[in-house]
Each structure stands twice: as C-alpha cells, then as structure tokens.
C-alpha cells in the first residue's frame, strides 16, 4: 500500500469530525523566516481522548506545542477551546485557559525543593511560609497515586522522578488539556508503564491528552487517535484500531524502512580488553567493568541516564582518569585522545555539541583530527582541506550548502554525519559511540546504523552506549547495563530482551 492509499484511509478524508471537541486547531501556519514549521494544520481532541502526534524530529511537533502553550504566536489559523476562539499569548494565559504542558526535558529549578517548583504552578499569596506551602501542596496531592517527597531538592531526584514533578505541577491547576512532549525519552520501561497507567487514569477523568512521540510502539499502546506530521504538514490521521506499524511508518517517513540488517558474527581476535575498571566520578564510581571485545563485535551498554555510561566512555576515550587494566590489540592503553585516535580508536561523544565546534565550518570540523597533516609548514592548506571535505560530504551524504557553512546551521542528523565522517574515515579498529542517533530523524538514523554496520562487517569493534533499548537490541552481539555505576553483565543478545535489560538497568541484576 502506498502513501496515497494510506492517506485515503485517514480520518478527515472520510468526513469524520468530532461533535464537541475540547480543543480544536484550525489551519495553523507558523513560519520562521523562509522555513515553514507548520503548514495549515488542523487537529481536534475530545474530552477523555488521547490524541497522539507522531512525527520525526523536525516534523513540526514541538512548534505546534509551543503555539498551543503560548510560546509562539501562529502566523495564520485559530485555536478553539470548547468551541470558543482563544488567543494564547503566554504560558500564563495557557495555564489560565486550562492547557498544561509536561515539556520534553524537565524544566525544573534544580536548586529549589520539589515544593518550591510546584509552587510556581500555583496561585500563591504574596507572603507565605515554607511550612504552609508544603501543607497546602500535600493536601492538593492527597490521594494522588504518584507520590514525591515535597521537601527534597530537585537536584537529587532521578530523571523519572523529575518528570513526575512536572506532571504533578501540570495537574495542580486542574487542566482540561494536558500536553506531554516526548514524555518517555527520559524514562525506563517500568517508569514509562507507570506513566501510561496515569494517562489512562486522567483520561478516565475526562481530560484531553495530547501525546507527542516519534516512537511507534508507545503511540500504538496509548493513543485513541493518531495524527502524523511530516515536514510541517499533517500527512494523515487514523483511529487506533485502523492503525498498524507499517502504515504509520509510511506516513511518518514517506516510504517503508528496510528491515533491520543482520549483524555478522564476530571474529576471534580480541580488540579491547578491560579488567576491573574503576572510574571515579561525582556519586557512585563506575566499577566492576570487565569485558573483552572481539573484532567485528558490538557490545551494547544500557542504563538510566546518569548511571555512569558517560564517564565510562569518557575514560576509554582518554578524557577522564581511571584505575584498572585496559589493553588495546594486546598493547597498553595510552591515556591521550590524540594517540588513541592514531592507534585506531574513534569516538562519538554523548552530545553532538561536544563532537563539533559549532561556529566553525563543516570542512574545519572534518579536519579536526587531521589538521596537522594539512599544515605541513604550520599554515593550514584550506584548498586541500575543502577538497577532502567535499569528498567526505559526498560519501557520507551530509546535506550542507557548502563545506564552508558553519556547522551550527546544519540539522542534528547532518551534524551527526559530520562527526561520523570525521571519526570513521580512517577505518578505526574500535568505535566508542554514545547515543549515536539521539535526536536524529528515522531516515538519518538508518544511515548512521548503516555506517556503523559497514565498520562492523569490516572487522571493527564497537562499544555502543544508548538509552534506546531497541537500538541496543538490534545492533549488539552482547549487552550489558550500568546500575548506579556498577557494571551488570554482559549477557549474549540471545538471552536478552527488553524486560531483562530493563531489570538489569533498574535493579542491577542479570
């Protein structure tokens, strides 16, 4: 079935519409300069309904939410709340109207207590005591299934607990419409299940929920109706019972995705040997890390954010001191990023902003590992640098106006390709990769996987740290987890599934 047929099955094309929508958006258009972020989008959601907004990164989901929450004004179109046109010019106005938001990344004030953070969503008297505030909040939250310690400083909470605080704050004003922006991206599978329970409960109370996601499984698990956005436009809308994964992918990407490629079995040669590694850090140290990684093998490491994955990878990349024995191809491990790269160790860091210098051009960023060669007499030869860059831009499919364009103007997926091109060009023996597809759209993620698999087929070893369990399970030969800094596993891919990996991450046992 093609996209056209998929569209033919959508909600509006069959002339269906809600009799009494809680919230309705009509022909919303928003431009940023020449870019159209939202083009004539019409949506509606009924009381007690969960509407999922599905789309890749950059499809315009977040812009639409920002308009609904009063952060941007739409250029065209109107918003109706319970049949009455409203203008939402600020978050405060949105709250007054009964529209609440749980943002993608918890926007909490770390230095404040939970109570003080929650207080920002309340009508406060001009003068109050902390004790009275805590009492009032405790009363408001009485009987709510999600409990939190009101007097704990937010900085000490886990990502899941922080989101719970966001949700409670959103609910304090008894909203009519609740918007959840990619709510599961910071949650463990178990926490996500608890969140879904809560969404179902709120739905039962008559709340309209707008659930934004790019993950098909969770959309299918929670939504009553699914609207798909692509490149700023609504390309389809289906009822849950009409939807299946294949249809949604076609709508979202505009084509079908290739089935996940097979990873060939590893070879005998050991590339990396790690014995009893200990990495000191703030909080529990990373400890008990022992494994041997063979040529052509992918070891996936899962963990709740902040469990020590970042520190482990930084230590191996030569950016952080560690204790223990590490051997690379039988040799001692030099603690020096430049020498490691020369030996054949490539690194995709945690955040893209760490992997590039955003103000510098694509060509300059591509030369960051090799600039010494480009400056035989101390002066950089830009002619050669840009020629080499053009070759890499072609080979890795980096979409950029020119090699001289500053990296800051590239989309996330293309920045990631710049990093990949620079790190992988020399054919490394070992790749240390963290969140290689984080915030990258499905199409670009496919390309990133293909590059990594090329490397693996060629006999390189890969250490893959990710919060995306599906990514880890589809690429790895073996999987391990970090739990409060403790290394759990590794176990072979055949023994692992989502539930077991989830247990390793949240309970610290295999």
């Amino acid at each position: 079935m093609g996209v056209r047929e998929a569209l033919a099955r959508t909600w509006y094309s069959q002339g269906r519409a809600l009799a009494r929508p809680m919230l309705k958006l009509e022909n919303i258009t928003k431009r940023f300069g020449p870019v159209v972020a939202n083009r004539r989008i019409t949506l509606e959601v009924a009381p007690g309904e969960v509407l999922a907004l599905l789309g890749e990164n950059g499809a315009g989901k977040t812009t639409l939410v920002s308009i609904l929450y009063g952060l941007y004004a739409p250029d065209e179109g109107r918003i109706l709340l319970q049949g009455k046109e409203v203008r939402i010019h600020s978050p405060k106005e949105a709250q007054r109207l009964g529209i609440a938001l749980v943002p993608q990344h918890p926007e909490l004030i770390e230095a404040h207590t939970v109570a003080e953070n929650l207080a920002l969503g309340l009508d406060l008297p001009p003068v109050f005591s902390r004790r009275a505030l805590v009492r009032r909040l405790a009363k408001l939250l009485e009987g709510h299934p999600l409990g939190v310690d009101l007097e704990a400083p937010v900085a000490r909470l886990s990502a899941g607990e922080k989101q719970r605080v966001e949700l409670l704050r959103a609910l304090l004003n008894r909203p009519k419409v609740l918007i959840l922006d990619e709510p599961t991206s910071v949650l463990t599978p178990k926490e996500a299940e608890a969140l879904f329970q809560e969404i179902r409960r709120l739905k039962g109370l008559g709340l309209s929920v707008i659930f934004i996601s790019h993950k098909l499984d969770e959309v299918l698990a929670i939504a009553d109706r699914i609207a798909v956005l692509r490149a700023g436009e609504k390309v389809g809308e289906v009822l849950r019972q009409e939807a299946d994964k294949d249809l949604l992918v076609r709508l979202m990407v505009g084509r079908s995705l290739a089935p996940p490629p097979k990873v060939p079995p590893p070879r005998a040669e050991v590339v990396l040997e790690v014995e009893d590694l200990l990495v000191p850090r703030h909080g529990f140290p990373v400890q008990g890390v022992s494994f041997a990684l063979r040529a052509g093998e992918v070891l996936g490491i899962a963990g709740v954010a902040g469990s020590g994955q970042a520190e482990l990878l930084q230590a191996l990349a030569g950016l952080r001191p560690f204790q223990g024995r590490v051997r690379f191809l039988g040799e001692a491990w030099p603690q020096d990023p430049a020498r490691l790269f020369a030996l054949g160790v490539a690194h995709i860091p945690e955040e893209r902003s760490m992997g590039v210098v955003e103000g510098m051009s694509v060509a300059e960023n591509l030369a960051l590992r090799t600039y010494r060669r480009l400056a035989p007499r101390g002066l950089l030869d830009y002619r050669i640098m840009e020629k080499e860059a053009e070759a890499l831009i072609g080979r890795y499919g980096i979409r950029t106006p020119s090699p001289r364009t500053p990296v800051r103007f590239l989309s996330g997926g293309n920045v990631q390709k710049v990093i990949l091109a620079r790190e992988l060009r020399g054919g490394p023996r070992l790749l240390l990769a963290m969140h290689p597809t984080y915030g990258v759209d499905v199409g670009a993620a496919e390309e990133v996987y293909e590059r990594i698999l090329d490397l693996v087929r060629g006999g390189s070893a890969v250490l893959l740290v990710s919060e995306d369990l599906d990514e880890i399970l589809s690429l790895s030969h073996r999987v391990a987890a970090l739990y409060h800094g403790r290394f759990v596993g590794p176990i072979s891919r055949e023994e692992a599934d989502r539930e077991r990996l989830g247990r390793m991450m949240t309970e610290g046992r295999v």
């Binding site: 978050p91 926007e107 909490l108 770390e110 230095a111 003080e116 920002l120 406060l124 005591s129």
Partner: protein, 277 residues
C-alpha cells in the same frame, strides 16, 4: 576596641547597602557592574537635594536616582539582551563621569545638617534582614530565585522573567542609591568627585564573599569595614608602608574572588533570557 567595631560598622554600612542592591539583581540573574557609577551619581543628587531642600528628601532622591539607573541598565541588560558585563561597565563609567561633571559646583560645600550615621546603619541591617525574608518567604522572592536559576522554566510556568528582573534592578538600584546618599549626607557629609573610592567594586566582591546570602553580607561588609579602619589606624604606627595598608582591602577582594570558585552562584547569572531560543 569599641571604637574599632563602631567604625567598622559605619564604614561597612555603604558596602552592605550597595552589596545588598547588587545581590538582589544577581539573584534574579542580572549582573550589575554599574554599582560604582550608580553610587556616585546618587550620592551627588542626594547631596544636592539635601543641601537645597532637606537631607531626608535627599535620601529619597538618591534612592530614586539609583532605581532609575537600575532600570536604565535593565533596558540594555534585560530588554535588549546585551552583554550584562559590558552594559554594567558602561554604566559605571557613565555614572562616575556624569557625577564629576555635574558636581563641580558642590565641590567642597559642607552640609550644615547631616543625617545621623547610626540611624542609616540600623536601616541597612533591617534591609538585610528584610531582603532575606523577601527571598525566602515571599512570592516575589520565589519568582526572583527561579528567574535567576532557570528563566526558561520560570517562563514556562507563567512568571514574567523580564518583569521580575526589572523590578529587582529597580529595588536593588534603590539600595545602591541609599548607599550613595549615606556617603554624601551622613558619612562625609559633603560631595567630592570620586568620593565612592572604589566602594562599588568592593560591594560586587562582597556579593560573592556572601555567597549571594543577605545575612552573610552583613558580616562580610563589617569585615571589610574593619579592614578599612585598620588601614587608617595602623598607618604610621607600624613600620609598614601605608600603601601596603591602603591596598589591603583590595587584596582581600582579589583573594575572595580567587577562593570563591566553589560558592554557588545563581545558575543563570549573566545570561540574557530570550524566549525564542
């Protein structure tokens, strides 16, 4: 001994007032490097009004000028999202220059009926306590701290970031103006060009020494006051060059700044807030 403590308090009072003023806006995320110039100009206006009308009105005029200058800084540092450090330095230079130029005719004129220093010193203490309560017990205080820590979050939850920052600059400017008025109406009581003598800069260091806590600022201010007193007192009586004593408070400032790396500043300090980004 008693004299030393009294002088320390009286000398520490303008520091405390100006420090509280700077502290207030810094808790909201706005660095105010204009303190020295704001103090100088408000000291001049306070003196002029005090001489021609009444010293009590002079105090109000000084505070008013301080508030206006705070709002003026806000136009650049808040609305135009300029670099706060550059904007503050420009304001310091402007205030010093303007007060020198406009104050020529008052140079050397004594004030016949100065205000009692002790009363203003008490007021400074009360203001420190009041600011502490403002920060910890009021809605505005919670909003101010939120805006200084994470303006994006505060904005998402309906707090007007710019409004809170302007109000903080105006209130803080009033306290800085009061510090200027204290100098020209009570402490000295006269007007001379450059009479702030670097106190505004020390006040900025005091904020860091106090770790952005109003109650700690009291002790910091009096500690500096004591050092200034010792500098006057020990000059000539010990075989150390007076210049070494004169440099002592400033050396302490440098020491404080160097050792304060670990003190927790408001997270969004110095960052302009722009909703679109």
């Amino acid at each position: 001994m008693e004299e030393a403590l009294l002088r320390a308090v009286l000398f520490g009072t303008p520091l405390l007032l100006a420090g509280l003023g700077a502290l207030l806006s810094e808790r909201g995320g706005v660095v105010n490097l204009g303190v020295e110039g704001m103090m100088a100009l408000s000291a001049l206006v306070a003196f002029a009004v005090g001489l021609q009308v009444h010293p009590a009105l002079g105090v109000l005029a000084g505070m008013g000028v301080g508030s206006l200058l705070g709002l003026f800084l806000g136009v650049f540092a808040v609305s135009l999202r300029a670099n706060q450090f550059v904007a503050g330095l420009a304001l310091a230079a402007l205030g010093l220059g303007a007060s020198g130029l406009l104050g020529k005719r008052y140079e050397g004129t004594p004030l016949p009926n100065p205000l009692p220093e002790g009363m203003l010193a008490m007021l400074a203490l009360i203001l420190a306590l009041g600011l502490h309560l403002l920060l910890s017990r009021t809605r505005f205080g919670l909003y101010l701290r939120s805006v200084g820590e994470n303006p994006k979050a505060a904005d998402l939850f309906g707090v007007s970031v710019d409004g809170v920052r302007y109000l903080a600059l105006a209130l803080g400017g009033g306290m800085i103006g009061l510090a200027g008025a204290y100098l020209s109406l009570a402490y000295r009581p006269s007007w001379t060009d450059g009479m702030t003598a670097g106190l505004g800069w020390v006040a900025i260091a005091l904020v860091i020494l106090a770790a952005w806590q109003p109650l700690r600022a009291i002790f910091g201010a009096y500690l500096f006051g004591l050092l200034f007193f010792l500098q006057f007192r020990l000059q000539g009586s010990v075989p150390i060059p007076s210049e070494a004593f004169a440099a002592m408070p400033y050396l302490l400032v440098i020491l404080v700044l160097a050792l304060s790396g670990r003190a927790r500043a408001p997270k969004a300090l110095g960052q302009p807030f722009d909703r679109g980004r």
